[in-house]
Amino acid sequence: MSGSEERRNRLLQIGSAAAFLVVAVVLVLIVISANKTSGGDTNLEDVGLVGNQLKGIPQNGLVLGEPSAKVTLYEFGDLKCPVCKAFSEEIVPNVIDSKVRDGEAKIEFKNFTIIDEESTPAGAAAIAAGAQGRGWSFIELFYRNQGPETSSYVTDAFLTEIAKGAGVPDITQWNKDRKSPKTVAEVESTTQEAEKLGFTGTPSFAVEGPGSNGLETLGTPGSSEAIEEAIDAAG
């Protein structure tokens, strides 16, 4: 075998070994990431799903839907509440698809903090995300990644991951806003509003539109159909 052939074979062997190594590394990376549990501060659940669910719908503050929609559905919720999470996954998406997406109604989320002391910073973080047009993305993503009701998981790191996953563009500003006394006062104010309306649990709903007698409370409807009927009646 000539010198140049030997050299060619050696280089081809190096190339083959490199290819083999890269295939092995990629497989290892995929296996590691596949085994990584979701949640925590590196992997949020359902970022894409929430993005798709809200795609194309305007978000202003904690209002989801066309600002000009004649009917407003109010949801008084607590981000730490497991029943609110169930509503967010099973009932509210149907209402969004049938009534909000077409501009018939808009939904405004109002904090009604009843679980524990972590409910307030969570709600304030949602308001701060709302200030950057990501309120509902934050709320929905929080619910999808909600921890056990009695555990203390609402840390700065957790909230920051949710905000990033929700696409809040300016995290520094969001941090400033969520800790401002004005934002915290807003959470307390909507909680008082819910109490004045006679609500005792979350989520509680109310509706207002040209066909309603002012703000009408709905309590906690058992189905999306019940909410849709209330929207129709208020329209």
């Binding site: 081809l12 894409g48 799903l49």
Partner: protein
């Protein structure tokens, strides 16, 4: 010649992603939707605190240089860089599909360009390495 063009195009795509990220935002998907935003906001978009598009730019620049140079060193560097780029693109596409659950057209475009470059550089290496320049 084709590799030079593809690498130059890759530099453009990676630069766009890096600039969009450095501005505090994210790349805009041409067909609308939030896929690019979701991917850019995911924790996978940065490696050691640096946007992976920056690594992409470096890779494409090396591939552009390798495509313009002659000799075994250029062939081996072109093959090696495109191999790593292709491998990482496979990993990132897996992440988009199964972990982030969102597709960013710009990332797909870069993965496609890197795949083409890997094919071209592999042909160049296997076909000509060890032979006179």
């Amino acid at each position: 010649m084709i590799a030079t063009f593809v690498a130059a195009f890759g530099i453009g795509v990676a630069t766009y992603i890096a600039i969009a990220d450095s501005g505090g935002g994210s790349p805009v998907c041409i067909a609308g939707g939030g896929g690019c935003e979701t991917v850019a906001n995911s924790t996978y978009s940065h490696l050691l605190g640096i946007n992976i598009a920056v690594f992409g730019i470096a890779g494409y620049v090396l591939l552009l240089a390798a495509s313009l140079l002659r000799g075994d060193a250029a062939r081996m560097v072109g093959f090696g860089v495109s191999l790593v780029g292709f491998g990482y693109s496979v990993y990132l596409t897996y992440l988009e599909l199964f972990k982030i659950e969102a597709i960013c057209q710009w990332c797909v475009a870069s993965a496609a360009l890197m795949t083409i470059l890997f094919g071209l550089n592999a042909i160049r290496m296997v076909g000509y390495v060890g032979k006179p320049a």
